[in-house]
Amino acid sequence: MAGNGFQASSYANDRPPSSTGSGEADVNTDPASSGFFTTDFKKHEDLKSMLDSNKDSLKLEAMKRIIGMVAKGKDASDLFPPVVKNVVSKNLEVKKLVYVYLTRYAEEQQDLALLSISTFQRALKDPNQLIRASALRVLSSIRVSVIAPIMMLAIKEAVMDMSPYVRKTAAHAIPKLYSLDPETKDQLIEVLDRLLGDKTTLVAGSAIQAYVEICPERMDLIHKNYRKLCNLLVDVEEWGQVVILNMLTHYCRTQFVSPNQDDKQDESERPFYESSEKDSDDDEDDDDEHEDGDKKKKNEKQSAYIMDPDHRLLLRQSKPLLNSRNAAVVMAVAQLYHHCAPKSEVGTVARSLIRLLRCHREIQYVVLSNIASMTSKRRGIFEPYLKSFYVRSSDPLHVKLLKLEILTSLATETNISTILREFQTYVTSSDKEFAAATIQAIGRCASSIAEVTDACLNGLVRLMSNRDEAVVAESVVVIKKLLQMRPSEHKDIITYMAKMVDKITVPMARASILWLIGEYSERVPKIAPDVLRKMAKNFVNEEDIVKLQVLNLSVKLCITNPKQTKLLCQYVLNLAKYDQNYDIRDRSRFLRQFVLPSDKPCALAKYAKKVFLATKPAPILESNFSSRDSYQLGSLSHLLNMKATGYQDLPEWPSVAPDPSVRNVELPPVWKENREPIKGKKQKQPAADLKSFYSSSSEEEESSEEESDEESEKDGASEEESEEEGTEDSSKEASDEESSEDDTEESSSSSSSSSSEDSSEEESDKEIKKTVKKSVPAKESSVKEKVKPSSGGDLLLDLDDLGPTTTTTSVAAASGGLLTPMAAGTAFVAQTNQAQTRSSNILQGITVPTKTYELLNRLSTGGLTVTYKYTRTISLFSPKMVSLELTFTNSGEAPFTAIRIGEKKIHSGMEIHDFPEIASLGVGASTSVLMGINFNDTTQPASFQLVSEQKTFSLAISAPVGELLQPHTMGEAEFKSQLAKLSGMNENRESCDIPENKRTPEGIYSSVLSVSNVLQVPSSDPDVFTFAAHTLASGTVVLISVRLAGKVAKITVNCEKMVIGTMLIKDLKRALSSPTI
């Protein structure tokens, strides 16, 4: 630890004499207190009587004096009973001071503290939010374990409070209660989950802080709040920002893949030290991780890296915070970028960090130590700011040392000359420790940059004639290290140093010189024995460390040049034999066996040469900051280079990203819009594939056990699948094969006996659990299942066979949509019920054709065709938005450039999220973009201008009512209960004739789904088909039921919003009665 290193040595007596060192003495020195305590007892009596008086002013006076005592750290606990009595005081000022007193002493007087609880409980219901908040604050601060249940209740209530201030206090109370009673964790997490969903910026920071303290492992709580947090980030108060940013860094590391995978091998940013091994280590680790996966996949993955939009969102939203006035926020952003951003973007933080160097010296210290560790990995980004790290004479020592460290790390061939010039000035500094550190820094520069090694050596040799002993000593040590690294032809330096031995008195330096001479004695054959002679003469007076080196030297010389030195050596060894220090005596005895074997020839002597004259590995001069990489930047652990209590390791990037759809706030539809059902396969999202990579193999295994006759086929299929995971493209090629594969699979499964059915159901149950546990929706499986027959004949599937299928699908949908395990859990229960009543007429696997609407015709625009369709997925931009896919096709003669959305004319409450500007659309080219519109649950058109450099078009999009919906998962029971609530005015009924080809369940499903984005609800009646959804903007529930009675279908739509209900039923009627599907 650098911090302790430099303070450890000198400066013993500079402390002001008056400092006492501990708290005890200051009772006497504190003039204010002496008044109170001269007649201790009486004074307290006095206070007691004041507290018991009727006058508020007296009470207040007494309380003020008591708090004064508390603040000074004096014991006022014997006043507890009279003070607690005043908790009921009407005077707010008195009350507040009593609160303050209580928080301090309640822990010590638990029984008496209980007297005050009822007051707090009453205050918790106070109309004034401030009083509610402070009551909760004090209640949760008094740390009496008996009241934990009361606290729990209070917190639960406060979480629902109208006032965000109270909710914030509740967030603070959560960790307090947790520390008091860790067993409440599960309950607290529930409460916390609600707080995390809070949309006020005031609460966000505190809620995350509570989350970090209680359950940082529960990433699943964050998923659904992730985008909200990112978007709110700028508005959260600065302290909250720090906490949120740190938490999101962890989140980012677990949920996204590394943005720097492809350029890891890139050597351009090689770190300064040899420690680039570190990097390659990382690579190896990565490789290891991938080994069980397949390499090919990794490569594909790397080349096709596209940053997750959520990852991008975080980086984008946090960037403005670099302008914060709060250094902690800037640092938090910097560490986020350092750990999570692509290499090319990290540079943006450098400038802001440099700005922090102008702040208070403590901040400088922390920032510099972080920069120091950044520079050892990313030298490039700080190079332009080299001059900002020049040391000022006014800097405190630890700042100076850090600056030196950074300068050294930044040194390159190009700037080394300026740095060295700067160092030259530092060497003359009056601060010895700093000068010594500078010399070491020079040594490090010299060792790493070959061009300047000679110049540095010369400079250091010159320094040896410096008057200052410390400087000389340090340079000798550094020279020794440098010479050891490249011992080639530095005879003159060694000679020179040998001459210095007489002058230098610092033991470390003397020892270094002796070691050097011993090591390279063959280069200075004449001088070495002479030096030994001199040293032997003065042996007794040397320091221990020097004595040891004299011994070493003598032995080495004795081996290389026994003629001249044998006697000397013997003499030295004899002297050492009777030394006071036992180390030296031991050494002498040990060495004697090598050079002066006593009576019988010792085996060791033969190897003496090998032992002593082996080439020694050169020391590596390296920064002590390179080892700090393992800690999260900006953390306390990083600063101290040791693990602090409660520090959480920053996880390594996952090799594959967990499913991104968990961050979607609402349920993503299971259906993908495509005319040919087979294409469903192609449209799988990559992440869903990745999921399947884990689950499918095991799933496949299990099933293969059960259905051994299918084994070969299945294996084939799974292989096929893992192939496909890498990229989407490859899956397209494979899809043809896939479809045939599916056919066989299907036929075999339908032919499989009913005995296998039970087991397969079991299996699917297992799978469900697995999915829920991982909280990653097994979307894949649903997608897979939906790849189902295209024509009528095949549609009549054996329902028994479909049993397991439906179960998986629905659960997948549930966990994908509602995200929390709790919700998934309930859905799971619902599903198992449903599995029991398997007569249900659920049918999934119908793909619904989506209509494509034309927005601009090429005839009217001069070639540009714009069509749009509803993707029926959750919009990336906001959960309230309808997601639209716009397809631009240029069939004109000239390219269109810079296509973007211009002026918007929308009704209040509506929003449009622009698509990213299309730079250019060449002739014949076609491109698709996503945009989001929040229609605010109306069918009012959203008008906007489409601007390109060539032309501007005015457009209007109005969504059919069915597209304003979002599928909603619910069980039959819930459906019925909801239905009961929405009767009367909210109900719309219609009936219509149904053409023959639609009188199948499939026909009805596809008709309903063609006009509305809904999800089927299991129904126990085979003739009734029920669907549920909720509106995008307001979340109002919409329920649809269709009863098939012969050729007539009775449609019922229940919705609180009557307009939506009536419009939807019209659409449904039209769709059901039309003969075409």
Binding site: Q7, I67, W239, I363, T425, L639
Partner: protein, 357 residues
Amino acid sequence: MIHSLFVINCSGDIFLEKHWKSVINKSVCDYFFEAQTKASNPEDVPPVIVTPHHYIIHIFRNKLYFVAVLTTEVAPLFVIEFLHRIFDTMVDYFSECSETSLKEHIVVVYEILDEMLDNGFPLAVESNVLKELIKPPNFLRTIADTVTGKASGFGATLPSGQLSTVPWRRTGVKYTNNEAYFDMIEEIDAIIDKAGIAVTAEIQGYIDSQVKLSGMPDLTLTFVNPRILDDVSFHPCVRFSRWESEKIVSFIPPDGQFRLMSYHIGSYNSVNLPIYLKHSIAYREGSGGKFDVTIGPKQNLGKTIENVVLQVQFPKTVLSATLTSNQGKNSFDPVSKLMTWDVGRIDPAKLPNIKGS
């Protein structure tokens, strides 16, 4: 998070302590005193100290140590920044933050600390909000309190600002004279080498504001050449996005005094120093040294330079200095080894010079 806070004066007395969680005995400060003993001067005490069970982070300002004690991992800058904020708040309340002022208002200080942190996590830090919760002491009120016999240091209502999107401003502000002042302060840091050439120079600028406007004013501030300001930090009231897109500072100001923004112009931009220094300083061991500094103005478009003060921190080995200047006064403090030379206005015709040994 922050567990406890101790305020210690230069002579090592702990005169204020506040615990936000369970009580930590003040003996934990012994580790701090130990580190303090090792350091040669107060600035050199390492800001972060590790003890077996706690982590001690401290700041040193105005001869006071604010020592925060933590038990778990917290971003150190978070703590340091917060300690500075405490100090600033005290200055805001009592117009200075010294041992005497803190001791005098110890109850208010204690209450403020209680409001600022809850369970070690910042609760109400904005001074506007705090001042509504706890009224700052002022002379008039003290008199009123003694006369009427009641004291109302504690507001009964919550400042609405805490709830709105502008937590830094309270509602219902009214002034008869609406005015806003902006001070622009620029500091140049330069290192001048032996030959008198500036090795590096960088500018740190601040815009401090004093806003007295009624209601909810929304102000914008534009710069003629915003590109010069290459690194800016803002008060939270400034809308970051508008600066990013249009380089306009748009904000709803807090009431009263605040620092709107600060900016930094780095050393890689060429910064012209308004003055130059010629110096020849030599120290010799034992006998003393020579000291000779001349200050001269650089091309400055006809503006005169006023109120020039030169301060020189001599090394510890210097016992005394006898210096003569041809202009202004100089003084040497033998304890802190600080020489101050008040030059005043620089007259280009006659360059000020100081000499001595």
